[in-house]
Point group: C2
Chain length 196, copies 2
């Protein structure tokens, strides 16, 4: 019988992973992303550098990994939406899961600021964007009218929506979190969809 593949192992593994991500964020916040070495993060968390790389593929992954599973959350929420809802409405609703993640407002601002304020992390965002796109596009596709290019259109819509969210997040950080994120998102979506 193979019930739980092993509780303890996986449990500690999750804990360590979480600890590492936590420690990393603190150091990044204190010293900046570029001026923090992986070595330091590992030391601060009490593991070896090599071990850290057993948990995270890269330094970027270390920074963004904590929020990497958000893509799945969004996709899951999207899938729950009624099948005849407008894709854009579903996307907006799906993105809202980001607000439901348990954390304080200041902490969220802090994290997002680190993640978006740093030049070196843009690659990571691109990576994330691509993954989200891959997750969402297949869900959007069946909602579009048959056109022979639905798959491509679905990708475009997913990409555009994510881009709007990205733009909204950047602006949100720029304004120190003093505006409602989804108000910005709506502004962005309206701006691109409004015919001149």
């Amino acid at each position: 019988m193979v019930q739980k593949p092993t509780p303890i192992r996986e449990q500690t593994r999750a804990v360590v992973r979480s600890l590492l991500a936590q420690t990393a964020l603190e150091l990044f916040a204190a010293k900046g992303y570029d001026d923090t070495t992986v070595e330091e993060v590992a030391a601060a968390a009490g593991v070896s550098r090599r071990t850290l790389f057993n948990y995270f593929r890269s330094k970027e992954d270390l920074a963004l990994g904590g929020i990497s599973e958000q893509g799945e959350l969004i996709a899951a929420r999207f899938a729950e939406r009624p099948a005849d809802e407008d894709p854009w409405a579903s996307l907006r609703a799906a993105f809202r899961v980001l607000e439901e993640i348990e954390t304080t407002a200041e902490r969220r601002l802090e994290v997002v600021t680190i993640l978006f304020g740093n030049e070196s992390l843009r690659p990571g965002h691109a990576e994330k964007q691509a993954r989200w796109q891959d997750l969402l596009a297949p869900l959007i596709e069946p909602r579009l009218p048959d056109s022979g290019r639905r798959a491509f259109e679905a990708r475009a819509i997913a990409a555009a929506a994510i881009t709007c969210l990205q733009a909204a997040l950047e602006e949100w950080v720029r304004r120190g979190g003093r505006v409602d994120l989804f108000e910005l998102y709506d502004t962005a979506v309206q701006a691109i969809r409004r015919l001149a």
Copy 2:
């Protein structure tokens, strides 16, 4: 008097830079981006590794640098468009400069395939996307109705248009260049702007 800052110097510099980019592309095409070291490119071009880094900031820059000035071309073309034209129409027209760049069709496909087919270069595309956004947004802004958020809206539009172009390019590569790029672009734009 400081007329021409020096013809010869800058001339050779441009030649060497071009040669390096060329050599790099050939090697990337032959061995793949990840399996080609900067060392090899430098050697093949007959310069030292260190010198290569005097011409290009990074390996990525080496791959994408050849097309990095495209952003300025696009922005310049956009600026030439009539001020009362719909931003989306201007953007489309501006993007068309990409077709005017002198090169054979196969060569273009080859280059774009290398550049878009490789995972490791996504960061570079993100970089490019960001730069184009910074160039285009300020030009779009004055064309929008006053709303108190024009700057943000302009960024969103620029980002979305670039995203559509990106999506179109990816699809274009996926189909082996056998479709018209701007037909794909139009499909993408229509897909995101069409109200349900």
